[in-house]
Symmetry: C2
Subunit: 361 residues, 2 copies
């Protein structure tokens, strides 16, 4: 199943406050063990195997998170965890990754994916990736579209064009266009239309193909970054990266390439997928007991329903008659919020910031 | 205001699980700082001043709790914290206290009161006690009855007999009888009748009067305990106490004396009183903010209502949109229970016991 010319590049520079108190500025969602034994980035690397062995996995993150990321992924070569000196949006990240992959293995294929998604089961995910790799080999820019299960307003959508056929049992279409997060009425229309997919944010392409595309539609970017490829594997890499990155204008890969390219395909993927933007969405994506309760840690529940109760401490949590509540316990903070209101966690974080409680952020 | 012949005896041997996780078997309710800076027994001693100075306060507790009790009450003479070798119900406790007080100060008056009640304000409480002392000087057994504010089913009641008049501005009646915790219909009848008071469990009498009463109605008890008075102040006190206590039959002061004596008066007390049997009743008796929220410790609430959120740890508790909930956080346990269900805390404690989690009890 494994091919030596297929690389994975994990985008892991994200910050975010919606999983406070478990996620913190120095330890965002992807580096946190929210549920289970692995952090999200560890789970992401594990989920790629056996398709992509760890020696062909790269991570692009920030300078502040690189050390912790290397620590959590000891099976990766340390130099494969690349720290962007500053954030310059996704097109720069993609170009950097493609230049490095193409330098390491000319003609290679790269799978680009976020570090902080919930995806299962792994074998269905790998099957979709394998199909995407085959489509990418033919010179296409491959996206993965999830069949909508409800009228989600929190995701971008991909509008399907004509069907190209099945590859390894997976449906592949051309792409008519990308649409931003819709309002609810539009989302309902997309759902009933049947011709839309959730945009998973996962891509597969030959490094040289995406670099060609960027050269065509955003030449200044590849031009500016070219020295990075020359410096890869030399002691001056970090310095060169910093020098070329600092003056870059910010531009997204959607705007720089995807909205303009014509060689885009979408693989329809039906694995369970979520970019888990909140405690509520995490609850929706995890297995529950018969009463709809999810627990982690030392938790004793009596007559509880539809609740998420998770702890990182040794304190036992005893919940009696609790209904529709999220409870998150860490060493220095406890969050209690009814389900359906976890978007408000960011307001708590803002309040803590305003109160000068930086030690909690 | 203070009289040198008035003693207080605090009954502080209680155990109980209803304030778990703050109260534990080795540290029951009266020894816990549930709300505020003082433990309940410290608050009880403080509330007696200036009526009773600490050198005339005695505490009767258990062997297991004596050391911690002395530690919490350094202003008391250590020998004034008396440890019952075994529990032999309230009549033995009363007889022991009366024998010691009478030995220390013949003819003295003793106020007997539990260690774990919420009472405020202190001056109104002291005013009622002072009136009771005056009534007790005339040879009466004085009880304190709280005017019912609602049809409580959790308290015993005192049925008033004829009014004797006002003493120091406080109404005094003879007592027709004592009734156990009523069902709700009966409690409603008591409330509308107007002739019933909640039995506060606080008493005042001359030590010699209560001893006379016990001799009349329960002679075997005073007979058995008499050697304790002789041993008071000698090195053999603990040994003698143990020898006479072990073989005693258990009998309550209600059954041994109060239901039989005829010289009982009741002082109607209108201070805010509760024997706080649960987190719910504690909530009812504490001052709240405009949204009905009580917090202790590092607590941040947003849009919360009618909740009790208390912590003994340094963890910040952030509660968003929480309604009608009790949250209690200690170093090793967290309790979350909707208000109105805190009676079920004892089931949690039973479950922990059954699971062999003795370290949490």
């Amino acid at each position: 199943m494994s091919s030596n010319d297929v690389y994975a590049v994990i985008m892991a520079g994200g910050s975010g406050t919606r999983f406070w108190p478990m996620s913190r500025s120095a330890r965002p969602k992807q580096l946190v063990r929210i549920i289970g034994d692995d952090t999200m980035i560890q789970a992401t690397v594990a989920r790629l195997q056996p398709l992509i062995s760890p020696d062909r996995v790269l991570v692009i993150t920030t300078a502040a998170l690189a050390e912790e990321t290397r620590k959590q992924l000891p099976m990766l070569k340390p130099e494969h965890v690349i720290a962007e000196p500053v954030g310059r949006d996704t097109a720069a990240c993609v170009a950097l990754a493609a230049l490095v992959v193409e330098k390491m293995s000319p003609g290679a294929i790269m799978i680009l994916l976020p570090a902080d998604q919930v995806i299962r089961p792994a074998d269905q995910f790998q099957q979709a990736l394998a199909a995407g790799v085959e489509v990418a080999r033919q010179g296409n820019l491959v996206t993965y579209g999830i069949t909508p299960r409800f009228p989600a307003t929190g995701y971008g959508y991909i509008k399907l064009a004509q069907r190209l056929g099945d590859v390894q049992g997976v449906t592949v279409n051309k792409v008519l266009g990308f649409v931003e997060k819709p309002d609810e009425a539009t989302a309902k229309k997309y759902l009933s239309d049947g011709g839309y997919r959730w945009n998973s944010g996962i891509f597969t392409w030959k490094a040289e193909v995406v670099l060609d595309g960027l050269e065509t539609h955003c030449a200044w970017l590849t031009e500016a970054l070219r020295p990075v490829a020359e410096a890869w594997g030399t002691p001056s890499f970090a310095t060169v990266l910093n020098d070329v990155y600092q003056p870059l204008k910010k531009i997204s890969i959607d705007y720089a390439l995807m909205e303009k390219a014509t060689n885009i395909c979408v693989v329809t993927a039906d694995f369970h997928w979520d970019d888990v933007g909140s405690w509520d969405s995490l609850y929706d994506h995890l297995p529950k007991d018969a009463d709809g309760v999810i627990t982690q840690g030392d938790v004793l529940t009596q007559n509880c329903r539809d609740s998420l109760i998770v702890s990182q401490t040794k304190q036992i949590i005893t919940a009696i008659g609790v209904d529709n509540l999220s409870v998150v316990v860490t060493a220095d903070a406890i969050l209690i919020v009814p389900k359906g209101r976890s978007q408000q966690v960011k307001h708590v974080v803002d309040t803590l910031k305003a109160k000068g409680r930086g030690e909690l952020l």
